[in-house]
Amino acid sequence: MTDSPLPDLGTRPAPSGSGYGDALPAHLGDVMVKLEGIEKYFSDNHVLRGVNLEVRQREAVMLIGRSGSGKTTLLRCINFLEEPTVGWVEVDGLRLQADPLQARSRQHQEQIRQMRLRAGMLFQDFNLFPHMSVLANCIEAPTRVRGIARDEAVSTAEGFLDKVGLLEKRDEYPARLSGGQKQRVAIARALCMEPKVLLFDEPTSALDPELIGEVLRVMEDLAHEGTTMIVVTHELHFAREAADRVVFMEDGVVIEEGPPEQMLDEPREEGTKRFLRRFLTP
């Protein structure tokens, strides 16, 4: 990890090492997402205490940790749905410094928007637009934000809907879909904007158990196709199958990170061990 450009604010240091040691897996590309010294306060509550994280092109990173550990907040800091209190975010070469005092300035807002065009996000409760058909959900942003012609946007959308197995639902309204189908449409909608990285915020937490599999399968396919993704999840089996790297967070810092086998089978840090023990024993 790189050094934070910020003074040490008395937080716990992140563990050294990129999680891979010296041997970076060959299929990974250049750095796609880089978080430097991310701190986040919600009024007095110090939620993120200096997080550094690098994610490479084609890498699938899973963020795990107890609820309240800051993993969702960290994810939301990447596309500035939460503005970090201090720190730098870089996605695909666009570097942006957190600036909560200027959060409403037009220039800062525009930069945030550019950041969001690079990072697609999936939510726990899907957030499909209920007043639009599945297809309209998918082409809304491409046509109105990217300025893509309708015909082209429709054929792109149909391609992605087919990919998530829901092409035949293109004219349905979200209310007529199951939770799993909604999340798969949400994935197609995000892909239609051709983002550089996908951010998943507990994408299966709101689903009935029998619907989780269909969403995880789509995500696993994406991971194996080399989609860069950062996933906040409690699905450790899925992490083992699909992750290049697992990152464990506790109390707003990264405690340990590494390949899934190492992280899940032989964690080194006491915090990670405690978390896994509680998680794996029913």
Partner: protein, 272 residues
């Protein structure tokens, strides 16, 4: 075990059928009696009123249709125009009330306070009889529509504000995460959903407006109540004329309630 269970089920089947049939019969009976009581009450009320008023059949047959046709037409015209303008004002007002801009916010809250804080009747007088003194002369119908729009717009501002706030935060976040600029998020994602939330309330206000529009009779708008009073007075049949006017408002209310219910059901279809 299985055999025993099967025979129990065989015994149960005819009982289930009987229960279903009995329930259907009870429901039908309820509806028939309900409708019959309504018809009876309407007839008793109508006939009773007519007899009590001692109105000539001639008056009812000749003057009634004039009140109904001309009066109801203007009532609907005034109410429909006013609800449209009131809705536009309410959207602007709500955006102002939710704005981070202190000027817009203050202007919107001032508007709401002023028009909710003074009587509608006074507002109607003010626009029609007051404003000409400073050189602003509006004909009767535009003056009435202006007053009704401003007054209802103020009330509906609060409805729209609540409607916008009732759209889940995740909707805005999802749109923003897609890179949709703020203005478009409001116009394309939040407002359409807010409108669906407030349609029942707008429907209620429209029905209230149908009746409050009778207030503009005092500034000589030829709507239902005005026609009833004029015709009733000249024919010396004020009671019968007022009864006809009342029937017009009531009927309009029933018709629009029916459409409102259908619209609500249609809008609810796409719901999550």
């Amino acid at each position: 075990m299985t055999v025993g269970f099967g025979s129990e089920a065989a015994k149960a089947a005819p009982i289930v059928a009987q229960v279903v049939a009995a329930r259907r019969g009870a429901r039908l009976r309820f509806r028939l009696i309900f409708a019959a009581v309504w018809v009876a009450l309407v007839l008793v009320l109508g006939l009773g009123m007519w007899l009590a008023s001692g109105a000539e059949l001639d008056f009812v047959l000749v003057s009634g249709p004039v009140i109904v046709l001309q009066g109801a037409g203007i009532t609907i015209l005034v109410s429909a125009l006013s609800i449209v303008f009131a809705t536009l004002l309410a959207v602007l007002g709500a955006l102002g009330r939710l704005s981070a801009n202190p000027i817009a916010n203050a202007a919107a809250s001032f508007y709401v306070s002023l028009f909710r804080g003074t009587p509608l009747l006074l507002q109607i007088y003010f626009i029609y009889f007051g404003l000409p003194q400073v050189g602003i002369v509006l004909p009767a119908i535009p003056a009435g529509v202006t007053a009704l729009s401003l007054n209802y717009g103020a009330y509906m501002t609060e409805i729209f504000r609540a409607g916008i706030q009732a759209v889940p935060r995740g909707q805005r976040e999802a749109a923003e995460a897609l890179g949709i600029p703020e203005r478009l998020v409001m116009r394309r994602i939040v407002l359409p959903q807010a409108v669906r939330i407030v349609v029942p309330a707008i429907g209620n206000d429209f029905i209230a407006m149908l009746k409050d529009s009778s207030l503009v009779s005092i500034i000589t708008v030829h709507e239902t109540l005005f026609m009833a009073q004029r015709i009733g007075r000249s024919a010396f049949e004020p009671l019968a004329a007022l009864i006809i006017a009342g029937a017009v408002y009531w009927t309009l209310t029933i018709i629009f309630s029916f459409f409102q219910e259908r619209l609500e059901r249609r809008l609810a279809r796409g719901d999550r």
